[in-house]
Symmetry: D3
Subunit: 68 residues, 6 copies
């Protein structure tokens, strides 16, 4: 009975893409560990860009600098 939490930046992820993530990661747990889909939970968190940091910077500033 796996529980999978996927955190991504909030950037217009569509409902179809979320459904693909849910199906894909569930299939993976079934295939690799023989888990039952019926007791596999997936929770997707979309995180605002200013709330996600990398390299000591909020991700939007980090990307601007990298592109700079």
């Amino acid at each position: 009975m796996p529980y999978i939490n996927i955190k991504v930046t909030r950037q217009g992820v569509t409902a179809d893409q979320k459904a693909e993530l849910i199906r894909g990661v569930t299939d993976l747990l079934v295939r690799v560990l023989d888990k039952s889909p019926a007791t596999t939970f997936v929770v997707i968190d979309e995180v605002a860009l200013e709330n996600w940091g990398i390299g000591g910077l909020p991700v939007d500033k980090y990307r601007r600098d990298a592109a700079g």
Copy 2:
């Protein structure tokens, strides 16, 4: 000093229901493990239906199929 995180689907949970969850789970930790309420944290996350998966499907589709 327990920390409890409760994740539920976002479906109109009221402030009163949240207060009941907070009180109930705090009481449980006090009763079973003799923890202090003053250092017991509870965080409730409400997750959009399209962000929660079960059975390889987003939960709203999963429920429609189950009801189908």
Copy 3:
């Protein structure tokens, strides 16, 4: 289909106490939000004392100071 994560310090919590926590929090979700036990997950994490901080100190030192 709630997911509940309970974090407590690792201090000899017994299997019976864990079972009580699992039953208690599941019952709470059933009672307050009418959730199904069959799709209610509970995960208990036991955290070493030196890995848990409060008041800017590891919890074992914090307690010694408080007992001071």
Copy 4:
């Protein structure tokens, strides 16, 4: 820069299976959301059976009852 946390019960998951989970979920994020593998983190938590609850019971007891 996704972060994925996979929680499974601790039941002899091998290093090869963990590597497969890491590769599989990273590929999924690349394919569905065009994320970069270099900034995709995966953390696998293995949870003791007595620390995981479903149906109001620790999972080992839940399975015995279901098999019963």
Copy 5:
């Protein structure tokens, strides 16, 4: 490659304050554990007051009682 999650109550935290948290905690991991900023992730979650409990009460009520 650390991952740090900071949860605070949602009370008008500004983008500048978030940037300070991200920079500060990244610097801390670099200084104490010699981690690389480029693979240090920080995720900030802002939690609604009614979703955060302490002392068995939602935090806004807890504060009113304490002030009372």
Copy 6:
């Protein structure tokens, strides 16, 4: 009443280093957001190398390849 979770790879982090992380991140929350240390929790998780993935690989293999 912040809650901070720090995940690092399990590589001989000492109790002193953990105490430094706890003090440092608590001070940060006090300084930036004027939070009270007494209600600031820090939980450190040490993750086995084979349970942490980056670049689609377990971190030990990722580092060997990078060094290669």
